[in-house]
Amino acid sequence: MPRFLKDHRAGLVLAGLLVAQLTVLSLQVPLGDEPSYLEQAVFFVLAPVEHAVHGAFAAAGRLWSRYVYLRRVEVQNQQMRDELFHLRQENILLRGEVERLTDVREIERALPDVHGAFVVASVIGLDAANVYRSLVIDRGARDGLKPNLAVLDRAGHLIGRIANPVAPREATVQLITDDNFSANVRSSASRILGQLAGEAKNGRCALRYVLATEDRLAEGEELVTTGFDRIFPAGLKAGQVTSIAPGSSLFRKIEVRPYLDFRALDRVAVLTAPARERP
C-alpha cells in the first residue's frame, strides 16, 4: 500500500463514507418522497427482523396476561358483556332503520364491500428518528396494501396513511403527525373546511387555511375528513381543536390534538380500497 494511503487511511475512509452518503442524499433529490432502492433494500431485509422481535415480545406479553396476571380479567369480562349487550341492541335498531330507509337489494349489494373493506394489522415498529413520523405494521403488499390507503386506530379514528416502502409482509404508515401529512377536513359543528397538517416536533397537528375573518370555529370542535382529497373517505374523525390564535398572516393559527395515542396503538385497521375506488 502506498505510504500516503497508509498515513491517511482513517481520514480517507471518513471522506469516502461522507462522499458516499452525500451521493445517496443527492440521488434522493429527484425521487422526492419516493424511497431509493437502497432504502427499500434495507427496509425489506430488516423489517422481517423487527417483525420477529415484535412476535417475541407479543408472545411474552400473551404468556404474562393469559397465565400470570389475571387480576383484571373478570372485570374486563363483565365490561365486555355489558358492551356486547348494548351493541346488540344498537345493531337491531340500526338494522331496522337501514331497512326502513334503503332498498333491500341496495343493502345486499353494499354489505360485501363493507365486510372486506379493511385489514387488521399489528404495529411492529416505530420511526427510528422521530416516533411522530411513521410506524411499521405487520401487513404488506401480500395483504393488498399499497400507498395512500387510510389507517385507523381501534376506535376508527384516522391515524395516518400507507406510505412507501411497502414490503411483502410489512408496510410503513405515515402518521397524521408527520410534517408532510395532509388531509382535507371540516369541523363537526361549524362545518368549516381546512387542511389538516402534521407537526412532528410536538406530536400535534395544525388546521391550515382557515381565514382570519372566520370566527365560527370553537375550541373543542371535532375534525372529520371530507373525502375531497380523494385519499381519505369522508367522515373519519381525525382530532380536536385545542387552540385558536389570530395568526400573523391571512389565516388563523389553529392547533389540533390528534386522536393518535401510542399507548393504545397495538392494532390498527387499514381501509383496503382508496377513497376514489370505494363505491
Binding site: 471518513l14 452518503q21 445517496v24 423487527e50 416505530l126 416516533v131 411513521s134 412532528a200 406530536g203
Partner: protein, 165 residues
C-alpha cells in the same frame, strides 16, 4: 481480509443487530420518549471507543443507513451525523485515556452532545425539518447515551479482562 478485520466486521454486525433489537424492544416501554433513548448512538460511540476511528466511522454509516431506512426523514441524514460522531469518538478515545467509567461517561456524554447537535443542525438548518423535542425529553439524550456507552464499554472491558486472565 485479515483476521482482525473480519473480527471487527463480525463484532460491528452484532453491535448493529443488538442496537436494532434494543430499539425495537424500547417501543414497548416508552414509545414517545424514544427520542431520548438512542440505541444506535450508544452502539456507534461504544464501538468507536473500543475499536478506533475507522471502525467507528463505518459503524456510524451502517447505523445511519438503518435509522434512515426506518424513518420517513431525509435518507442519508442520520448517517452523516453518526459517521462523523463515530470517527471523532474513535479518534479522541485513542488519544486520551477513557478507560475509567467516570471518564467514559464524560467522554461519551460529550460525543452524545456532538451527535445530537450534528443531527439537529443537519435536520433543521439544512433540511428545514422540525425537531421532536418530546416535551424536553430529547435534551436527556446525551446523558442517556453516556450512561448506555459507559455500561456497554465497562461490561466489554471486564469480560475481555476475565477472558484474557
Amino acid at each position: 481480509m485479515t483476521p482482525s478485520w473480519s473480527r471487527n466486521v463480525l463484532h460491528g454486525g452484532l453491535a448493529l443487530l443488538a442496537a436494532f433489537l434494543v430499539h425495537a424492544a424500547l417501543r414497548w416501554l416508552a414509545a414517545p420518549y424514544l427520542i431520548a433513548l438512542d440505541a444506535y448512538a450508544v452502539a456507534v460511540i461504544a464501538f468507536a471507543a473500543i475499536k478506533g476511528e475507522i471502525a467507528g466511522a463505518v459503524m456510524g454509516a451502517a447505523c445511519g443507513l438503518v435509522v434512515d431506512s426506518f424513518s420517513l426523514g431525509v435518507f442519508g441524514l442520520a448517517g452523516i451525523a453518526a459517521t462523523v460522531t463515530g470517527y471523532l469518538a474513535g479518534y479522541v478515545a485513542r488519544k486520551i485515556n477513557v478507560a475509567a467509567p467516570g471518564r467514559m461517561f464524560l467522554f461519551s456524554g460529550l460525543m452524545g452532545i456532538l451527535d445530537f447537535a450534528l443531527w439537529i443542525g443537519l435536520t433543521s438548518v439544512f433540511f428545514g425539518r422540525a425537531i421532536p423535542w418530546a416535551g424536553g425529553a430529547a435534551l436527556a439524550r446525551p446523558v442517556v447515551t453516556a450512561g448506555g456507552v459507559t455500561v456497554v464499554t465497562t461490561a466489554y472491558r471486564r469480560i475481555k479482562a476475565h477472558r484474557d486472565a
